[in-house]
Amino acid sequence: MPPRICLYFQIHQPYRLRDLRITEIGKGKTMDYFDHDKNRSVFRKVAEKCYLPANRLMLSLLQQYPDFQIAYSLSGVFLDQCEEYGQDVLESFQRLAKTGRVEFLAETYYHSLSSIQDTEEFCEQTTLHIRKIEDLFGMTPTVFRNTELIYSNELAQTARLMGFKGILAEGTDHLLQGRSANLPYTPPRFRLPRRKEMLIARHRPLPQRSENISVLLKNYRLSDDVAFRFSDKSWVGFPLNAENFTDWLLGGGGHSVNLFMDYETFGEHQWEDTGIFEFLATLPHIWQERGITCATPSQVINAWKHTDAPVYDAHNVISWADTERDLSAWQGNQIQTSALKAIHALGPLVKATGNPDLLRIWRKLQTSDHFYYMCTKYWNDGDVHKYFSPYDSPYEAYRRYSHALCDLKMRVEPVKASRRDASTKNIKTSRRDVSNKQHTAHSNRPKSQSPIPNP
């Protein structure tokens, strides 16, 4: 039997920040950090070029070919933007969902890096996302895909304890070590620290934990042939046609070929005039002729009847980003790590306010894109930007972000208490100042060098 084709598409839009100024900080309770005009215009541009035409095509393919099936992961912030800027886009996804042959995967609602920062927050965001998918599409995700395919052994165990039966990951060469990406894998079995297990149990999004979890690996060569190389005239495979591509898909054998990519591949990264839509439209036709079936991630896992699976051992964190396939795109320099640390440090304060608006704002600021825009990995002086960013530079990204953080911090700090504290402190300090001065005068030491007494 030929391998199944597992198609999964990622869709996400961040809330980009507006040109915030330091003079606005701490001025208003309702200060808005986000650039709604920009966010709307990007959303509408991508909707017209990609979401709407691609969804139309997918719907017709689903209606035409009974074996065609696909999976999506729609970030929660993307779905929020659908409600704000594109009800038409949301409805087109709902029409796809109604066919019953579209699977929706779970991810963190805010497309965040919480999996590597804060387990409780990670569970909460995943729960929020699952509830959102249930509300909008009437189905409960059972397979998890993390932000930018960030993955590790620990994350796989976390997802298992959260109740997922499958998780997606990048099939990196150094972890596969010559093995095929076309088989379901399993993470090494181990126990998480007891505290973490209890934390997950308390915040588990799904009713019960899974006994096992399968890891579906992205076949990055074949995925990237479409996503990155389709219109590359210098590529040896150019021009790619559906026949040849199908031959390649079958060539590797295995249980399933997992083609994971950004949905924007269709119409946005590869423009319509490259013939990407025709390519996509021809595939199911050829697959039907040649007896190849499609399967969604959960079907791929269910169809695996062997009692064991090879082990995929990701001791260190991997992702699908850049050639490094690690976390350096989001936490590779000082400004990124400091911003990441600062936003997560605000968590307890934000939650203590019990204010749902502040909680939402805080979470929107966790979206991984904010940190990605601060990346300087390829910011070689004078070179063309290799990174897509709505801002002038990584430093502009940080400037806006740090202003938002400062303002949010002032909004969540317990105002009355701190004022009282401050005023009492002042009294104490001034007393100390007096004694200091006496002390200083006595020892004839300049004031700036006088030791600060411990409170």
Binding site: N333, I335, G382
Partner: protein, 399 residues
């Protein structure tokens, strides 16, 4: 080569750039004969031999009062201050001075046998062109600052005309940035195919261990300082610096400002600073030596270059070499090569102030800019830049 100030005596990029380029060329085994305007009453014996290779540079000095970045008004001031008999040697006004310089320098270079004639900025262009014609060799005009940069697009038509004429006549034009190349194409109508961009270089290097340590809360209450360094002329944007300073001051009265450099705008700047209420937090340092400049850079929490139109802006490289975070006018060549910096439009002083305050507030940001920006200096050495000039020469000689 028709150049300026060797060794550089005045603050400003032209002399420094000429020196850097010539040293780079000499390292590439190019024999350079340098023709320099030189005031006879000045320090004739101030022939500093700064590095051994400079023995290979033949210098020809042409009596002239011309100075880099000259204008008719400045020249008139200077010529009035010297005895009339001497003044006649140099030329009564700027136009005449250029004419005298041209005649003399063409005459004294007739016996040479150059392969290429290379001239820097407009005052030497006619001399360069006539010399090139005399020897039947290609002319390269190197442009460090156009009349449009100096005057914020209100040029002296005569100078602008001289520049344009020379660019048209030249076999090749070297611009110090893409920014300048665009000006030549858009405002002088020069064919872009004959303009090459060779950014200025820097022989400064940044050593993290010798860099000043960031001001940390433990080091006491040292007030942060924001620096301007450049000629006090409209081109450099000192007024915009003051505007920015007053916004920063309103937000954080502890910030100090230093304006280093001299120029005809000095009195009006002082007046404006007082009007803006900055008298207690601003220092006019006047003209500074390169050692003093280096010290100011290291003391500064950030350096702002708000130039209205800056072909390159060597000061920006000097600042990052001292580990100082920089905020650059987008209307500059330096912003093309320095990646790790804030870049703002010169007129957007509000955003400039915001960037300053962000750098002062965010230690990780300042320390990343300090560490990352100087990496470009490894690439932008004068040796590398001279290499590019040499390949331009070779192309000209083989075409």
């Amino acid at each position: 080569m028709f150049g300026w100030e060797y060794p550089p005596r005045h603050l400003g990029g032209l002399g420094v750039a000429c020196q850097g380029l010539i040293r780079g060329l000499v390292n590439q085994n190019v024999k350079v004969t340098l023709v320099l305007p030189f005031a006879a009453d000045g320090s004739e014996d101030q022939i500093d031999i700064l590095c051994p290779q400079e023995h290979h540079i033949q210098k020809i000095r042409v009596a002239s009062l011309l100075l880099p970045y000259d204008s008719a008004e400045l020249y008139a001031q200077r010529i009035q201050s010297i005895p009339r008999e001497t003044a006649q040697i140099y030329g009564a006004d700027l136009g005449h001075a250029v004419h005298v310089f041209t005649e003399t320098s063409v005459e004294v270079t007739k016996h040479l046998q150059p392969d290429i004639v290379h001239a820097h900025d407009w005052m030497t262009y006619e001399a360069g062109l006539r010399s090139a014609r005399h020897h039947g060799k290609p002319l390269v005009t190197h442009i460090h600052a156009t009349e449009l940069d100096r005057t914020h697009f209100h040029p002296n038509e005569w100078i602008y005309g001289r520049e344009r004429w020379a660019f048209e006549q030249a076999d090749h034009v070297i611009a110090v940035s893409n920014y300048t190349k665009n000006i030549l194409v858009q405002h002088y109508g020069i064919n872009p195919d004959k303009i090459s961009v060779v950014h200025n270089g820097s022989d400064e290097t940044y050593h993290a261990d010798t860099a000043p340590t960031q001001i940390t809360p433990m080091s006491g209450k040292k007030n942060p300082m924001v620096l301007f360094l450049g000629r006090l002329t409209i081109q450099k944007g000192p007024m915009h610096f003051l505007e920015m300073a007053s916004m920063v001051h309103r937000h954080d009265p502890d910030v100090q400002f230093v304006i280093a450099g001299d120029g005809h705008m000095f009195p009006s700047l002082v007046h404006q600073a007082v009007k803006l209420g900055l008298q207690d937090c601003i220092v006019f340092a006047g003209k500074v030596s390169s050692d003093e400049a280096r010290k100011l850079y290291t003391q500064a929490s950030c350096f702002v270059m708000p130039s209205l139109s800056e072909p390159f802006g060597l000061v920006a490289l000097e600042a990052i070499a001292q580990g100082t975070p920089v905020i650059l006018s987008k209307q500059s060549g330096a912003s093309e090569v320095i990646g790790h910096a804030f870049k703002v439009d010169f007129w957007d002083t509000e955003k400039m102030a915001d960037c300053v305050l962000t750098i002062l507030r965010e230690t990780p940001l300042a320390s990343q800019l300090t560490a990352e920006a100087p990496r470009v200096l490894q690439r932008l050495t004068w040796e590398n830049q001279a290499d590019k000039v040499v390949s331009i020469y070779k192309n000209l000689l083989h075409s």
